[in-house]
Symmetry: C2
Amino acid sequence: MISLGIDVGGTNIKVAAMNEKKELLEVFETTTDVEKGYGLFIRKISNIISDMRKKYKQKLAGCCFAIAGDVDSNNGVLRYAPNLSGWKNKYIKKDIENLSNLKCIVQNDANMAAWGCFIFDLKRKFKNVAVFTLGTGIGGGIILDGKLYCGSSSSAGEFGHMVINYRGEKCNCGNYGCLEAYCSTYSLKKNAIKKIKNLSDYIKKYSMEEKELSPKLLYNAALKGDPVALKLWSEYGVSLGTGIGNVILSFNPDRVVLCGGVSRAARFFMPYVKKRLCEFGIKAPIKFSKIIVSRHYNVGVMGAAAFVFEKR
Amino acid sequence: MISLGIDVGGTNIKVAAMNEKKELLEVFETTTDVEKGYGLFIRKISNIISDMRKKYKQKLAGCCFAIAGDVDSNNGVLRYAPNLSGWKNKYIKKDIENLSNLKCIVQNDANMAAWGCFIFDLKRKFKNVAVFTLGTGIGGGIILDGKLYCGSSSSAGEFGHMVINYRGEKCNCGNYGCLEAYCSTYSLKKNAIKKIKNLSDYIKKYSMEEKELSPKLLYNAALKGDPVALKLWSEYGVSLGTGIGNVILSFNPDRVVLCGGVSRAARFFMPYVKKRLCEFGIKAPIKFSKIIVSRHYNVGVMGAAAFVFEKR
């Protein structure tokens, strides 16, 4: 039996095929084409399912969507996704099951990343795990007693919008002082522009354009010892440490796992996360929880594929 | 069968006796006498257990301690409690079971208040519940899937020390900007002193002494329409709303329950809690969770007594 994980982003769809031993068989991408409409999207996925059935010459166990947005996982409905504008209250589970006759799960992408970390990084060794996805924004996922915890209306784990600095920076969500307002691709870029006195020199130095003031560029600059980049990562670490501390005090997990693109800069921000955690006064749960960085690049789509095999 | 809940504070011990129908038979208090030592405390509890056996002429089902402090509930050990100084790493469960031959549970007081709210306010009607205890400090307790969630090292639910204002007010725990630094008996008093320009007039007006600048006095002053007191409760509500919002975004519970002495001023701070929650950008879980105030004064010790009857 083969399962499919399907990560749907605003630009690309990433598909992972996995066998029952949880071995990743392949990962490939295709375009989402949001503007062409939801109907075409469903037919595209349905075609991929047909292709995979032919290719692997066996029955598929099911597919699991991982979507950055508000998802009703009980009913398999995409309620709303900021990057998939116009697709509101879409019955993805029903539509795929009707068209492809394949068991379908719809989940939040951070939840599936959390499941991926739990299965592939932690090998199910721990009961309670909190996962932070560090990317364009900050997402969160929670494993409790070895099971995915989605909350009462499938919205648990919104760690990115915990307020860590009441009356602080404006966040994209509309509130002020959210963790994401300090730890996201856009906040890194905004802070970089503030800190770099002579932006054109900086841009020349790293042979880039302003729009490339990305986490990757800031990572590469930090590798070269650039003081502005190092300072930015230290501030990122202090804010992230505050958010991680809040989550540890609430959940008292065995492990906190960081994943997502920006987690690859961990060597620069992790010392500041740890220093920040030492400032928390309630020591027992802080000392108890270990923080690790996921080793897997495709942990979200891998988690989705693995989740198909889970009994629920 | 009768169960005993035993709430141990720095000054008083509160004992509740309960039958299997979860009817409260009696609640009484005695002094803790911390300075007389742990040995005497254990003998005192043991004598109470003997007295209750004689009084109710039946077998006791067990007893459950509720203690404000760091508790290892798996092993029944009080690791540390700020109000019971000197009592570190005390094997309460073992000591009581040896001396009184009675099943003994040791729990954190906020966890037991959460259990009390779940059983007596919510009648187990909801699966996922977050409870805030509003008193001298702020505690928290979590019910997930209808069970008490204590975390991986019995430290979950430390909502009072979530940071809501990074680099904000100093908290008693040593960190800065904790929820408790804004919502506690001492922060209310500190803010009152700051706000009241002519303290002696204010004190005269309410015929009291400065040390009585308590939540109760500020509640009574608010009842009389005192603008300073009303302002203080509005600020309390805004800060508490931030903390509640963070917990809702993390756990996505069905209900949030407020209990503890200060919750009785809810009529003055709740409108500001609700207003604050409207400012959160992630609307779905915020709208989903209803916030209620516990109707029970002794909900902590009642929760402890009820917890004895729970299968675990």
